[in-house]
Symmetry: D2
Subunit: 259 residues, 4 copies
């Protein structure tokens, strides 16, 4: 059974009555329940937990991490960000939702500003599938609608994705590449746009299907790579083809390289 952790920032659920009414147990709990209904073993973690609920031992036992953040990106500890990144390089899947486009972990893994245009007006969003029968769109029609969503508009400051899975149409005239896949190290990454906290997006059946599918797609059953930063010096004596060392050298045999 795939083990997912849904990480919620859990800030607006406390500060905003609107959000608290919509998601009384937090957005993370709503999402985790949807994953459980989809046959996934899902638990939650929040910003307020010790180590944000993501100590090393828990990441070691997590197949896929789902990340939702918005108001408190800056409060996420850099050490946890590095830890999550290393887990991704080693094979943990990572799904970033909506305003997580500006999370430290997404910006780190993309290597770009991850910026966009936006408007909070409760306008209609329609998501179109651009990669038919991709594992992430299993069981979905060619498009589906969210009657009220925040708008995110292009240009979206991310690298060219491996695959573009969804493109969104917005009532106010914008478009957005709403579902994008990436790979970083051995980790599968999926960015999925919908999910503004003032709307009931994570109760939507199609959105829930996407999340369940994405967790299955992102999970990597192989054992986690341990030292994801290793850069081993291969001795001449161990060379796969017999060679003799020639020319001047900087390094002593077996020495570590510079970093």
């Amino acid at each position: 059974m795939i083990r997912a952790v849904v990480w919620g920032e859990n800030v607006h659920e406390k500060r905003s009555q609107v959000v608290a009414d919509l998601y009384p147990e937090g957005m993370h709990t709503c999402i985790a329940k949807a994953l459980q209904d989809g046959g996934i073993q899902a638990t939650t973690a929040t910003l307020q937990d010790p180590e944000h609920g993501l100590p090393q031992a828990r990441l070691d036992d997590t197949d896929v991490l789902i990340w939702w953040g918005h108001a408190a990106h800056g409060d996420v500890d850099n050490a946890v960000v590095e830890r999550v990144a290393d887990a991704v390089y080693g094979g943990m899947g990572l799904i970033l939702l909506h305003s997580a486009h500006f999370s430290k972990i997404f910006k780190k893994l993309m290597g770009t500003p991850c910026n966009l245009t936006w408007r909070e007006a409760g306008e209609r969003e329609r998501l179109w599938v651009t990669s038919r029968h991709h594992p992430i769109v299993r069981g979905l029609p060619d498009h589906f609608e969210l009657e009220q969503e925040e708008m995110y508009g292009e240009p979206f400051g991310v690298p060219e994705p491996l695959e573009t899975v969804f493109v969104s149409w917005f009532q106010g005239g914008e478009v957005f590449r709403s579902g994008l896949t990436y790979r970083r190290g051995a980790g599968n990454i999926f960015y999925f746009r919908p999910g503004h906290e003032t709307y009931p997006t994570y109760y939507d059946g199609n959105v829930q299907k996407v999340l369940v599918n994405a967790v299955h797609w992102a999970a990597n059953p192989e054992q986690r790579i341990v030292d994801v930063h290793a850069a081993p010096n291969i001795d001449v004596a161990q060379a796969l083809e017999p060679i003799t060392a020639r020319g001047p050298k900087l390094h002593a045999e077996g020495e570590d390289g510079f970093r």
Copy 2:
């Protein structure tokens, strides 16, 4: 005329007699001369210069930055790394050479460990073109050799590139994707493997051709994007299609978003 800056760490040129003998004016100067011979306006900067020779004003006037570093990646100031990254997002080209795979700027832009295996044995490297007639291989044969080079071996811890331009064969039995293109924001990025400081690689005619070609390929004549992190809030009143704001809101009209 394209304006290039060749950044050299300039450490082993001072510390190692072998390197000093090979590159008495520094590797950066050797590379800059090759670019000049190729019709490019090339100057140099080094780690030891104030602000590592890369103040904002200079980056503003640089079309393509070439980066060679090895022993002192950790000594590069983080503020300069951020500045270079922002210039890349805004449209400056960036070419990373050899051991710059572990530079802060490359790791930041890739979002991955950028690790590899290596062996310093002066073995033969043969670079094969895998993207015929790519602008970066202009005037080159389908393969060329470097009689003595350091080996770098796969797996190379980088994201899937936009294009694989070269793959290297090594005498000791390894292979490496030696020429890779990426785009980050408006900036073109090229990683090129050869160039260990104890060998005369940057005097090689084919290597020099690659560098000249890569500078031409990476240069973006468009005016630099200024605020590369901007994420503008688009007012409902300015929406391209007439819409009426609906539903609950977190943000006041025109407010900045969270970061």
Copy 3:
């Protein structure tokens, strides 16, 4: 000076009064004039010309071919399609416009059905730039509008592109990846969506800018590769590293391979 040939099917210009009134000299002539104004040496060719105006000698002297077709894809001679494909593999640029998505040459180069949904209702299209400062969007704003266009909708049956340059918003609720780059052999390929023959699309200043930019982007100044299908048998005696032939063989030394 870049040499472009604008190929026009030139059928609806003869059969439809609407199209004839809009493009009295043919759509191809309108496009060629825009390219000429952009500093490109542009001539035209049509379906009705001998060999569709594309004999081998002309392709040999063409840097970039622009292709518009719609009603008569099936009338294009297969030999000409093969000839154009070989020119692309050898380094000729190819730009496919609008209904050329169903042309023989595009389907051949993509290896996919290239299908989509469509509606001819003169609705508003808005093209959004998704790759800022890409050479193809030089001088363009982040979006531009065409007040009346035919709708093309996702899913678009093409392979993942090298780069997604434009995404279109349509008034009726659809989206489309409107500007896509590919490389096939040494040839740069750009598909650009707008251009239904009953609307004045090719008189639009932004569209003309895209076409001029795309021709510059697609042109490959290297000498054309001659035998694009060559699969040479490398003699053991010519091997770059000394080897001795071992084991059983099917082929005599120097023999051609099977096809």
Copy 4:
């Protein structure tokens, strides 16, 4: 249980004593047995069977087709090639082995010449993993060797892949991108280089692991897309957002488009 069909040309097994001795039941049977041992329901089909063993009904019941051909690419019926291509677009996985690089079906799906250099000298090949923990390399070390193989060398005339999974080192000095993934329509495609018929490659444990992994990776459990070439005209009355038809038209409402 995944249903695979292993298609073998089955020509050299009849004509060459060497091949017949190595693969007395045919290469396809050897491969099918390896898949069966890996928990896959695998059957075989050959060129000599009626409709090459690939009637429509069988393709409808096939999750993944494995293709090996060499001497008789030209004898494969074009109608069968189209049928296989349509099955791929609809979601059938396809794995192409070794000399299948020149098969009609691979060239059709790639849209390129698929040429390479080659040498039949029984030299050593070493495959390096370039995408760690990719599903296709599950359980494999970072590299493995085949003591005798035919050499295939770069440049390989294929489009940039979705992912490069293996790169090969050859004793005679060449390299080759030996494992490449693509997607065409809903179909996952994997090209895998090794497998010259005069060597015992398909008895190799690592090669068998790759094949089993690749079948699992390529299988798409979604129901096959039926009309893979459909390009539906969306009525104005059915538009998702209310619009009014404007401007001149070529097509009557509900009419089929041109092809």
